[in-house]
């Protein structure tokens, strides 16, 4: 999906760019359905156990959740600014923004780690009840996607470091940026569904 120059000798640059964009949107479509199954389970069980959800959600740390939401929104901003920068050929700024994005992603995972440990310390585990099963599975799968995103962005940063991108070619940056915004999107829904709704 990170389309590069080589391996696409059969497409001209404009074609390759369009193809890469369609490719990543198709991949994001699969992710919608992947998380979609879990959102379906959430809805089914929320309708079945409204009391459990009301009581359990109070155990979640609203402040940490909100902070993480802000962290991800900032990371979406930084990756968007990175793309805006390389559109103007500013390689140094691109590297800076990519690095910031990865850093913010690490902060997100750090806060998540603290949060989860807090839950475990209070005897709340994935098998405690359906609410916590959903909480750990959905935030866990999301967290895996954050980690994956960090790795992908790290790869893109490595390429940026070697000067591979310019105002004429930055497809991998845009493609991984789109993936990253999607990761933010999923959290935008996870946050209220678990932390805010009583």
């Amino acid at each position: 999906m990170a389309a590069e120059g080589s391996g696409h000798a059969h497409m001209d640059p404009a074609q390759a760019y369009d193809a890469a964009k369609l490719g990543i949107w198709t991949f994001l479509a699969t992710e919608v359905l992947l998380f979609g199954g879990l959102f379906t389970a959430y809805i089914v069980f929320r309708l079945k156990f409204p009391e459990m959800f009301r009581i359990d959600h109070a155990h979640l740390n609203r402040l940490m959740g909100a902070t993480n939401t802000v962290v991800l929104i900032c990371s979406s901003l930084t990756v968007a600014l990175g793309i805006a920068a390389i559109r103007k050929g500013k390689q140094g700024l691109l590297r800076l923004y990519l690095a910031l994005t990865i850093l913010l992603a690490a902060v997100f995972l750090g806060i998540k780690y603290v949060e989860w440990n807090e839950k475990f310390a209070h005897g709340l585990f994935p098998d405690t009840d359906v609410f916590f099963s959903l909480y750990f599975v959905m935030t866990g799968l999301h967290g895996l996607h954050v980690l994956g995103g960090m790795l992908v962005l790290g790869g893109v940063l490595a390429l940026a470091w070697r000067g591979k991108f310019s105002e004429r070619y930055y497809t991998p940056v845009e493609v991984s940026g789109l993936y990253w915004h999607f990761v933010d999107l999923v959290w935008i829904y996870l946050f209220p569904l678990f932390y805010l709704i009583g």
Partner: protein
Amino acid sequence: MAETTADGAAIPLNGNGRSKGYLEEKGFWSWALTLDHKRIGVLYLLTTLLFFLVGGIFGLLIRIKLMYPGQEIFSHHVYNVIFTLHGSIMIFLFIIPAIPSGLGNFFIPLLIGARDVAFPRLNLASYWIFVAGILIMLASLLRPMDTGWTFYTPYSAKTAADVTLLSFGIFLIGMSSILTGLNFIVTIHKLRAPGMDWHRLPLFIWGMYSTSIIQVVATPVVGVTFLLLAMERLFGIGFFDPAKGGDPLLFQHFFWFYSHPVVYVMILPAMGIISEVVPVFSRKPIFGYKAIAYSSLAIAFIGFFVWGHHMFVSGMSKTASIIFSFLTFFVAVPTAVKVFNWIATLYKGSITFESPMLYALTFIFLFTFGGLTGMFLGALATNVHVHDTYFVVAHFHYTMMGGTVVGFLAGLHYWFPKMTGRMLNEKLARLGWLLTFIGFNVTFLTQFFLGYKGMPRRWAEYPAQFQDLNIVSTVGSWILGAGILIMVVNFIRGYYAGEPAPANPWKSLTLEWQAASPPSTENFEKIPVVTDWPYGYAKRKPEGNE
């Protein structure tokens, strides 16, 4: 006779005076790390054909056990493992990937006038992810699954079988399917040759495009389902466990949201092949091109609305049952459109019966038959009686084997000369076809009767009144096996010793026949410019650059 490309350039020949094209380069790594869609297609074809045979052996074992109830040929537990493996291997390792990842990979770029798919390295990755999934599945055989290929909870969450490892294997196989579909969607949108408008696309492409949409949308759901099953076993989460407030039917909803559309992943490519073969061997334009093209999209779309018809007796609400039953009947409409149009194509055509056409005609007959029996299953009232009986088994074998497998074999026979540069032996092909046809019907027609007389499926034993038909069915399986064996021998013989094939032995108008047999690595010397649709038979002859 020197082979030339469509615009007259000579194809480089090997020492025997025959061009081997994309098959030229030798060595393990030239195959293992290939970016050539044709080689990747061949890798998939060989892998899936291998598992077709393995799954077939498990099928034969089932039939042997069912011939003599009461005989301890092997234990009931082993029987459960065998039918689970038969189903799982046939579905996940053969029938889902065979046409899309095998023939699709090989022919989609050729049919649209491209040099490769949109993402060749992703293509290679998807094959090795497929292999990784297979290996993990095989590893799970140390504690083999005995749940049936549907892996219903709660049993699948509790059985001693290694469902966790198996779940990860299937997840990876699903990932491979998703990436293939993604690749094809982008390829068809972006890599069509100049002049190849959507309404000049070969119908196989319309079928593959619709298939790819299903793969991309449906497979993630089964992926997350197996992930959840693994987590239920590993971490004790209880989405599907009533004791923890979960719902076993939730598993079924997720499972069938994928597994019903996936039968259209199986059939749409096969239907695409039929749409290619029938006009060629009738020397007539396909009747109702647009109807067939759009019916593929319609089947893909409607196919998503009907999954609950697998769950009528599961405890699902009456409301949902009625809705799903009602919607199920709609999917028959675009299907019937295709059957009607194929028959209309045959009408007043100059029909010849080479092996691809034999299989194509067989498809139309057997799939229609199987599809019609779907009406009994879709109707709530009758479903209650035949659910989980051999009626269901017969229905899906008529559609999946009489349909997809026969369509796949039609494609293999049709495209064998293009892929290998050699012709198959027609006599052997017809013998293989005949035995396959007879054996198939003897095996599975009897099972409709067994089913509506009440013989349950997945049981190792049964009441004595069912024995006679079971013996007939088993003998049928041996005839079927013989037919398949003869066909495989013909393929092997054909590859090594078949008559050299011309570029266009069937005089077809689609673009792949403009490339050499076998094609060079780049497919075409020059990307063709398309000026007409590929079904103008009797109006023009297939020559020159189209």
